[in-house]
Symmetry: C2
Subunit: 196 residues, 2 copies
DNA sequence: GTCTGCACTTGACATTGTGTCAATTGACAT
DNA sequence: ATGTCAATTGACACAATGTCAAGTGCAGAC
């Protein structure tokens, strides 16, 4: 939200996010986006070279608009590793539904477009950093189970928090967001944390 | 393998599986499959009405050729719930790499084709039944943690064993198959099993 | 032997969606 | 007035899927 600069570029990005969030999913074409932004299809190409770049820009736009960085940053202020783990699970887990539409489109594109793949991996590595920070905080408190190594623990937490897992439970199995958060938090604790 | 009936239909299915397993991934078109099966592109359409049905038939073909049913059945003979859980994790987890290529193509198609989606869900519900059997066996032994309900436990095990999670760890993070199996087994135990 | 049916081939074509190109319009700034 | 810049319009190239119609070659029946 922040600035109300309604440049054509941001109108396109907003339209893209809106259509993808609506969840019709597959059926979002360049022409649909143009129509939603009330410009011609060709005008979209004046701002974005192709569909992949548009989707990438849309995720960045969304990340900024939703303030994901600040939200994840919040978990950094936690006093100890356990609280930090919980806070991170909650912050990211509650962020997923807000970006799912766009994320889904980008995930699909990543199979065919190397640029999209790179952008996606970049985005995911940011999440992984959060996982690493949480794991390291546990380690510092000597509360990390050493069934797995540090790096393995990070990968496991990252896997648990993947958008695909959210999709599995919420979309495919009909879980509520609250049940999802509660379960993932519990699983993360059981797998990563040992009793004091 | 079983029968060496080299009908055109099975030649097409074998070619499809082979190309998809090769992992080039996105770049498998109907024309590629036809060429690999040494027939004309149009002949493929004499046997399968469209790409979606071909992919669906290919997964069925692969499931049968690899004997997935027997392999999963093996875990049913386990004496107790814990052994059964381990056996199921191992059987399914080791099956994933053998079908990943075809599964990936079908997963991609499921976003756009309702038939593919239905076929995929059907396939996945078979895996879920295995998860349910393992959870129920634990329940019978009074070894199931009751942090989650029975149904939630099933969904969680199913989520842990999802192909996407295998993809995350093996493809994206470079884990070995052995590390993957060991970790998932360990996580499943920690989440589902309580000490005797 | 020829006829018939069947599996397959050949080549053309429709369709959908992406991306490109060139000519034009309209507004605004100087 | 003129130049510039964003956007429009319409035409087109390109993949890839899927459809259609005519033709080929071969095996089995009579």
């Amino acid at each position: 939200m922040s600035r109300e600069e309604s440049t054509t570029r941001t109108r396109i990005l907003k339209a893209t996010c809106k259509l993808l969030a609506a969840g019709d999913g597959q059926g979002v074409r360049m022409a649909d986006i143009a129509k939603a932004a009330k410009i011609s299809r060709q005008a979209v190409y004046l701002h974005f070279p192709n569909r992949a770049e548009l989707l990438i820009a849309a995720t960045r736009h969304l990340d900024q608009a939703k303030g994901i960085d600040q939200r994840l940053e919040a978990s950094r202020t936690a006093q100890n590793g356990l609280v930090r783990l919980d806070a991170f699970v909650e912050a990211w887990g509650n962020y997923i539904p807000e970006i799912y539409g766009v994320a889904r489109a980008l995930m699909a594109m990543k199979d065919s477009d190397p640029e999209a793949r790179a952008a996606w991996n970049d985005r995911m590595s940011a999440v992984r950093e959060g996982c690493a920070a949480a794991v390291d905080a546990l380690e510092r408190d000597r509360r990390l189970t050493h069934v797995h190594s540090r790096d393995e623990s990070i990968d496991i937490l990252w896997m648990l928090l993947s958008i695909r897992n959210w999709e599995h439970l919420i979309q495919d199995r009909g879980w509520s967001q609250q049940d999802y958060i509660d379960s993932i938090r519990e699983i993360a604790r059981r797998v990563l944390v040992r009793s004091a």
